[in-house]
């Protein structure tokens, strides 16, 4: 997740058809900002020095380097901060995305700053969650990476279970309106857009439309709503995800709230932690990035976009999680009957921390021939207080069991009841909340 400025529909309008969306113009990448009636400015005051950065501050930032600004999504601030941290030795490694095509990328651990620069640019079809990947390396040295909100929630959950050392991880959170399945977009490219997938050079989401740019420079666009009607748009779990701004990371970045004057040229960044402030100061001192104080209007606009996205999510959630009719058990049996027991859902699951000797596999025996496998029963229970809703389980399932929906089905009622949002803060998971010392 390295440099994509806005991982998922970074644009406020991603899949967003709501009328009155405040920032559709603000999302327009590049291009001259309309001069005629300048709306509220994004940023106020002069370019800040490092001492001007404080926790809780909201800024508009961009990279100083021209190439990064050109390649990066909205001013290249994320790339600049990551490069600065790596070159100045604040971190030893950075996790970046190595694109294998416009549709797929893999997370790669690198210490080469060129890789960081090469990863600049947004990608909306990235579905992998780096938590488990990170776990292999986190004991070596400090690592920086850019994350979607659900990535960060996974990392936080691992931190709570003492599997990742939070002191060694620096994260830049990216606004995320949802991600798309590469294979579906590939299919759509051919069938709906009528374009050869190999010709696609870049993609962007703008005003609720998915725009593909081909090598001959032509733009092809389709409404995401229409794609979603055919289940070809954002992944299902993204459509009802309730965390769109990564408030749990060190720096929360994105282009929501960036007004037309900085559209495509600046990133809105909110400093969430002291570590975030340190990294941003480092980028400014090292001459990688410049920031200005964000205006009131920009902050407001960002909140408004977020509000609209959350409202849409809540609506979808209501549509998807209808109480099952009678015979619920039979429904579950049916959903799970194709399971081949490969365990891929467990392998990719970001909050899952048991390791190889886990309860879900230890008690699961194919010889049991129970109606519902114990593996799934245990995982349903374990994820009730830890599911981050990243949806990778459904993605990797070889027999297409809608696992994310099943996990959320169990997790939603208890998380609502206990008022617990997974991975957003350091609160102990409810299942482990009772400690010996606290009684008496």
């Amino acid at each position: 997740m390295s440099a994509p400025e806005n991982m998922a529909p970074g644009n406020p309008a991603s899949g967003n058809h709501a009328p009155g969306n405040p920032a559709p113009e603000g999302a327009a990448p590049a291009g001259k900002p309309p001069e005629k009636k300048p709306p509220a400015p994004s940023a106020v005051g002069e370019v800040l020095t490092a001492s001007g950065i404080s926790v809780g501050g909201k800024y508009i930032g961009w990279s100083v380097c021209d190439t990064v600004r050109k390649e990066g999504g909205s001013g290249g601030l994320v790339t600049a901060v990551l490069a600065g941290a790596l070159e100045k030795g604040l971190v030893k490694h950075v996790v970046v995305l190595k694109k294998s095509s416009q549709y797929e990328a893999v997370p790669v651990l690198t210490s080469d700053v060129d890789d960081v620069y090469a990863s600049a640019g947004s990608m909306h079809m990235l579905i992998s969650n780096p938590t488990k990947y990170l776990r292999q390396f986190q004991n070596d040295a400090a690592i920086a990476l850019a994350v979607k909100p659900c990535d960060m929630r996974g990392i936080r959950e691992q931190q709570k279970r003492n599997m990742i050392d939070g002191d060694k991880i620096f994260t830049i959170g990216l606004n995320c309106g949802g991600t798309m399945m590469p294979y579906k977009i590939r299919k759509v490219t051919e069938e709906v857009y009528g374009v050869n997938p190999a010709d696609v050079r870049a993609e962007e989401i703008e005003k609720g439309k998915l725009i593909l740019e081909t090598t001959d420079g032509e733009h092809h666009s389709q409404s995401i709503d229409e794609l979603e009607e055919e289940d070809n748009g954002r992944r299902e779990n993204c459509r009802y995800c309730a965390v769109k701004i990564a408030m749990n990371s060190d720096l929360a970045c994105g282009n929501w709230g960036v007004m037309p004057d900085y559209a495509g040229k600046g990133t809105f960044v909110e400093v969430m932690t002291e570590k975030g402030a340190e990294f941003l100061r480092n980028a400014i001192e090292g001459g990688y990035a410049e920031v200005k104080e964000a205006s009131e209007a920009a902050t407001e606009a960002r909140g408004k976009v977020n509000g609209i996205m959350l409202k849409m999510s809540a609506k979808t959630k209501e549509e998807i999680f209808v109480p099952m009719q009678s015979k619920t058990l039979i429904d579950f049996k049916k959903e799970l009957e194709n399971c081949i027991g490969c365990g891929a859902c467990r392998t990719v699951c970001p909050p899952c921390a048991c390791g190889n000797e886990a309860k879900c596999t230890a008690f699961d025996d194919p010889a049991d021939s129970y109606d519902i496998s114990l593996f799934h029963m245990v995982r349903f229970l374990h994820l009730m207080d830890s599911c981050v809703g990243c949806g990778q389980c459904s993605d990797v399932c070889p027999v297409d069991i809608p696992l994310a929906r099943l996990y959320r089905k169990f997790a939603n009622p208890i998380q609502d009841e206990l008022n617990y949002v997974t991975g957003m803060d350091d609160r102990t998971p409810p299942f482990f909340e009772i400690k010996l010392e606290e009684v008496q």
Partner: protein, 155 residues
């Protein structure tokens, strides 16, 4: 042929042919098991549908135990332990309560009826309450009928 066999024949029935539920009951060693003992010593009458499993503490009952009981064909699972604050291990029953809440929510979402999993605190001196609880639960489960999780043909 199959339609003349009453359902009770494959789910276990009593002498009068009615449904005779199988109930797994977890009793903690220090309170509820002693309570069961007390019920026996005091000769309180209770139905014989309950299979008692003694555990050292109610918090020893893992969700897997409950699932396995249901999947093996139990019509109901009862959890019992010391009253809150009386736990022999300081706060074991607080943990039981959390686990119970999770498992209960999950089983309800799965569509298992509400009365099939019940938690009750029964102390060592409450023999009568123990017998009453068992009687009450057996009546309740009889009204619910065989568990939908029970495998067909399991008696």
């Amino acid at each position: 042929m199959s339609d003349v066999i009453p359902k009770s024949a494959v789910t276990g029935c009593d002498s009068s042919g009615g449904f005779n539920p199988k109930i797994v009951m977890f009793c903690c060693n220090w309170c509820s098991y002693a309570g069961a003992d007390g019920a026996g010593v005091s000769r309180f009458q209770q139905p014989a549908n309950v299979r008692v499993v003694r555990v050292m503490c109610s918090s020893r009952v893992d969700p897997v135990h409950i699932y396995t009981a249901f999947l093996e064909g139990a019509d109901a699972v009862l959890m019992t332990g010391c009253h809150i604050g009386d736990c022999h291990y300081v706060n074991g029953n607080d943990k039981t309560l959390v686990k119970y809440k999770f498992v209960k929510t999950m089983l309800n979402e799965m569509g298992l009826e509400d009365g099939r999993l019940t938690l009750r605190w029964i102390s060592a001196s409450e023999g009568q309450q123990f017998a009453e609880f068992v009687t009450e639960m057996v009546e309740q489960v009889k009204a619910l009928g065989p568990s939908p999780l029970r495998k067909e043909g399991v008696v």
